[in-house]
């Protein structure tokens, strides 16, 4: 299309008509290129450069403040009715519909749609286009890598962050999580720290569903498995508090100050009882108290964790973790600060018999203890830097244990669905998932959940969702991959075999130890009979050492004397003289030592005693003697070497002297 631009001007505005004439062309200006300017320029390789006239853009990320939203339901009544029609009025709506049905548009489109729809329906009926053609009975599951995904994080809404020391899942499906917040640092809790603990609903991770307001921060809490509305919590001041969530955030009842614990209550667990109101708690003051939550003013029963079974509170061990399995209601276990697990029987007749046995093995406080839900005879404990698995029958040591980890293990629990899987959390913020059937030396999966230390861990009853509480008040919810949370075939039998095997091994080791001890004891008893005149039985090893030392020194001395003789035979030189002097001094010292040793021997026993020592400790000392002999042999060799070297030196010096003389 031609582009035209129309100019208009009135005739009267034109000037006089132009008078045009021809003229020959003349050059007005002629500018020649100046070759001198070339030096200012550099010839560049020609390039293609594209240009485009467009707007300059820059990329700038912006993060807005977190938009807090709440979910609420809206009931949508039927809309879309035209204004003049009342949707409630049936007659009007029916009339409206009938009117539409009469429209031509409607009829036409519907007929057409009918054809289309017909076609598809018939298609569906003829052949199933989504039919599974390769259906196998058991599809080979591609072994997926174990993963644990963080689903959401519940953050402490208070400004001052406290550690999550206790977690408990709602017994009914695990839709809610109760977390106990407390600052366990000794006397470091800031004055404006809030005492509240929260119950979180999984649907709403932004705000806690409910707050529990005790008088002192809670260290642990537990949902009642029989009544999901009630909770019991143990606080930092040693009191027990009982909540009913239907009745609000304040505790319904508190235990009285005279009768409660004197140290923070580290663990409280509900018991199986007919009334469903019994709980028991443990604290580092050394007491285990049983409570009936209907009457918290006084504990119903008390047990002092005194290993000497005297009920002496001063010598009691501080309890840090408790274990109770509902299938074995009379037995329970306590993990102590001193690294011992105490197994107790509640139904014992006398308090002394309540403590059945102890298991020692950890070097530090046992932070968690739990029986395997499938094999109650085996239990898991966590403390110092290891996790250990024990069998009830073997009291000397654990049957299986992990390596010493890099950081402290704070909490652990078995998986409720897989007997070979357990979880541990560490001070460096890492969650470890161990699968004993897969790998025993290392965790199957290590997930770094948080930068802060993780203090508590609890798995939901379905075995798929895990909650970890950290030092800064964050509870992270993780979803475990199905590989770790679905029972594999033969797993139970394999685990049973593994536990049995390890238990057997420990039993054999224990038996062997006992044998060795018996042998030693019988031997030492024999020797005590022979040596009637002996003052101390403890001198045996010392005497042995003395005797061996004296033998050694005498050997060295004889060698030294040999050397001296050799050197005296050779031409004495200055260096050698010095050496000789040195060796002479050493020999003198050694001689003195020998004399001293001899004196000692005379003091302690006589030659007879020596002989007895020899015969008695022959077998045990043979090894030691052999090693001593070896050392002596080595020294002899060394001395010989030194002698050789010295001889060489002597020869050289002789030669030099000779040369000097000849020259």
């Amino acid at each position: 299309m031609e582009i035209t631009y129309v100019y208009t001007k009135f005739r009267r505005e034109f000037g006089r008509p132009g008078l045009f004439s021809d003229r020959a062309e003349t050059v007005m200006v002629d500018i020649q290129p100046n070759p001198n300017l070339i030096s200012n320029f550099v010839v560049k390789t020609p390039r293609d450069q594209a240009t485009q006239a467009c707007v300059d853009m820059c990329e700038h990320p912006v993060n807005t403040e977190r938009f807090e939203s709440t979910n609420c339901g809206v009931n949508h009544m039927e809309g879309a009715w035209p204004k003049d029609i009342n949707p409630r009025d049936l007659e009007q709506t029916v009339r409206f519909k009938k009117k539409i049905e009469k429209e031509e548009n409607y009829v036409n489109s519907l007929v057409h749609l009918g054809y289309v729809m017909d076609h598809c329906i018939r298609q569906n009926n003829t052949i199933d286009i989504y039919q599974e053609h390769f259906k196998e009975d058991t599809m080979e599951k591609v072994p997926e890598l174990p993963t644990a995904k963080t689903m959401c994080v519940f953050r402490d809404p208070n400004k001052v962050k406290r550690t999550i020391t206790g977690l408990s899942w709602h017994p009914d499906g695990g839709r809610k999580l109760a977390a106990a917040y407390c600052s366990l640092d000794f006397q470091k809790s800031p004055p404006d720290m809030s005492f509240d603990s929260y119950i979180w609903d999984l649907e709403n991770p932004n705000y806690p569903e409910m707050a529990l307001k005790p008088e002192s921060p809670l260290v642990c809490l537990d949902y009642n498995p029989k009544d999901p509305h009630t909770l019991v919590g143990g606080s930092y001041s040693g009191q027990i508090a009982f909540w009913d969530t239907r009745r609000g955030s304040q505790p319904v009842e508190y235990s009285s100050l005279e009768h409660n614990h004197r140290d923070p209550v580290y663990k409280i667990i509900w018991l199986q009882s007919k009334t469903g109101t019994d709980a028991f708690s443990a604290s580092t003051d050394g007491q285990i108290l049983w409570w009936d939550v209907r009457k918290l003013s006084e504990p119903t029963e008390r047990l002092v964790l005194d290993p000497s079974r005297e009920g002496n509170l001063d010598r009691a061990l501080g309890a840090i973790s408790l274990e109770f399995e509902p299938t074995m209601p009379t037995k329970f276990m306590v993990g102590t600060e001193q690294g011992m697990v105490v197994s107790c029987n509640r139904k014992a007749k006398t308090p002394a018999e309540k403590i059945v046995c102890t298991y020692e093995g950890h070097h530090g406080p046992i932070y968690a203890i739990q029986r395997n839900p499938f094999f109650p005879k085996n239990f898991l404990t966590v403390g110092d830097w290891t996790a250990r698995i024990w069998s009830e029958d073997i009291k000397e040591s654990s049957i299986m244990w992990t390596k010493y980890q890099m950081s402290y293990l704070m909490d652990a629990c078995w998986s409720p669905v897989r007997p070979s899987v357990f979880f541990t959390v560490k001070m460096e913020g890492v969650l470890d998932i161990w699968d004993l059937l897969f790998k025993q030396s290392e965790p199957t999966l290590s997930v770094k959940v948080s930068d802060k230390p993780l203090y508590s861990l609890r798995i939901q009853d379905n075995g798929q969702v895990l909650a970890c509480g950290s030092h800064s008040g964050e509870a992270a919810l993780l979803q475990i991959s199905s590989g770790l949370s679905i029972l594999q075939k033969n797993e139970k039998s394999l685990m049973a075999a593994m536990f049995e095997r390890e238990t057997k091994r420990e039993k054999i080791l224990e038996a062997r130890q006992r044998e060795i001890r018996l042998k030693e004891r019988s031997r030492s008893e024999q020797s005590r009979e022979d040596e009637a005149g002996r003052e101390d039985g403890d001198d045996d090893p010392e005497e042995l050492l003395a005797k061996v030392e004296s033998d050694f020194y005498s050997l060295v001395e004889t060698e030294m004397r040999k050397r001296e003789k050799e050197r005296r035979a050779a031409a004495p030189q200055e260096e050698e003289a010095c050496d000789e002097n040195e060796t002479k001094d050493e020999a003198e010292d050694e001689g003195k030592n020998e004399e001293d040793k001899v004196k000692n021997e005379e003091d302690i026993g006589k030659t007879e005693a020596e002989n007895e020592v020899k015969t008695e400790a022959e077998s045990e000392v043979k090894i030691e003697a052999e090693s001593e002999v070896k050392i002596e042999a080595e020294n002899e060799v060394k001395i010989e070497e030194e002698n050789e070297v010295k001889n060489e030196e002597e020869n050289e010096e002789k030669n030099e002297a000779e040369d000097g003389q000849t020259e």
């Binding site: 949508h76 409607y106 009918g114």
Partner: protein, 96 residues
């Protein structure tokens, strides 16, 4: 009118058809064989779904247009035939 009736009857008579709904452009069910609450639910949801599907198809290629929507789920198949103004929705239980 008779055509419409005949078409609908034929559709409803096919094997596996659970119900039929006709929805207008505003999401109002004109005619249905299911109960009220289910109908209004399906109508509302499928109206917006179909509009979204159509705009997706046309965004990719403006010359294109949506002809049919099938949502197959574990328990049934929802078939939606869209038109300018109306939607014909059929719930069918596929033969297996």
């Amino acid at each position: 009118m008779a055509d419409v009736e005949e078409t609908l009857k034929r559709i409803e008579g096919h094997k596996g058809v659970i119900g039929t709904i006709i929805v207008n452009s505003e999401g109002l069910p004109i005619r249905t064989t299911l109960d009220n609450s289910t109908t209004s639910l399906y109508a509302r949801l499928l109206r917006s779904f179909t509009t979204l599907a159509r705009s997706a198809v046309r965004d990719v290629d403006p010359q294109n247009d949506l002809t049919f929507v099938r949502i197959r789920s574990k328990k049934q198949e929802i078939l939606v035939a869209p038109e300018n103004n109306y939607l014909l929705v059929v719930i069918q239980n596929p033969s297996e």
